[in-house]
Symmetry: C2
Subunit: 144 residues, 2 copies
DNA sequence: ACTTTAAACAGGAATCATTCTTAATTATGA
DNA sequence: TCATAATTAAGAATGATTCCTGTTTAAAGT
């Protein structure tokens, strides 16, 4: 159950790639490339930011990582690869998974109503995480 | 029914701003800032791209335009300001409105299941528009 | 209409996330 | 072990967007 990661994929197993995948799978939230870079750098001090970007891309092309576009400037990466939805805190930018069943029927509903051949959809929720809801009282500034 | 645009808003009515708003309201699809720039330039040849960006931002802050993040690099702008969902063609990047009723209940559903105070959500559909579905046979390249 | 003045403007520089280039290193498989 | 194709570090390049500066303009009073 541990390393089903590279299983059955023609993907070269390099040092950086392995560490990136290990580390992203330890995290429940969905870091940016730069956040992953800082984490990976602790184990591979000579790793470069470009390598982290490239490997996150390769991993997502191979379905081992999800690449998420939320309402901030950077991409976020998710080690959980089954289809699911996400939420982002509008204050601190933290991005996490949502325990909501997939709405599989809306793609066909939309396809029936439009001229598009619908392939997939994304749902993103935005709100305040617990920490930021509490901080709200203190009136600190926004990040996202 | 025509110019409810500036109604009741403390927003200065400048040449560029007026033209941008008029033009975006003529369009059903959701152009990027640069596409708007090219359109506006036909009426105001000396307009600058920065002005178009700034005004689209101001207009969206005042709720006169929606700013959309889809799965390409650029922001898209929507003259229709009531809540609704969007679809983007994965091939040509065209972005349009979806005739699907708002799923108002999912915010509370998510709030009940998470530690977040949910404020809003977005749903984006991706697929192939009619033109690109047809072109598919001819095997032309992807843009988005 | 004329004046004032804060906001908006054009043009171009700056920023920031991401991608690309290149020469050196490394994983894979014969 | 060797060949070689992929990967890497470092930094340059790119592209969307924002910011800066000196000039212009819209809004609100005279």
């Amino acid at each position: 159950m541990k390393n089903l990661l590279y299983t059955g994929k023609k993907i070269k197993k390099t040092r950086a790639r392995t560490v990136i995948l290990e580390e992203i799978n330890k995290i429940k939230s969905h870091p940016t490339a730069y956040e992953m870079f800082k984490i990976v750098k602790q184990r591979l001090p000579r790793v470069s930011l470009g390598t982290v970007y490239r490997n996150l891309d390769i991993l997502s092309e191979h379905g081992l990582v999800l690449k998420l576009k939320m309402n901030d400037a950077q991409m976020h990466y998710d080690g959980r690869t089954d289809e699911h939805y996400h939420i982002q805190c509008v204050k601190c930018g933290k991005t996490e998974d949502i325990p909501l069943e997939m709405l599989n029927n809306i793609d066909t509903a939309v396809q029936d109503k439009t001229a598009y051949r619908v392939l997939y959809h994304t749902i993103s929720f935005y709100g305040l995480c617990t920490e930021c809801t509490e901080e709200d009282v203190t009136g600190k500034g926004n990040k996202v």
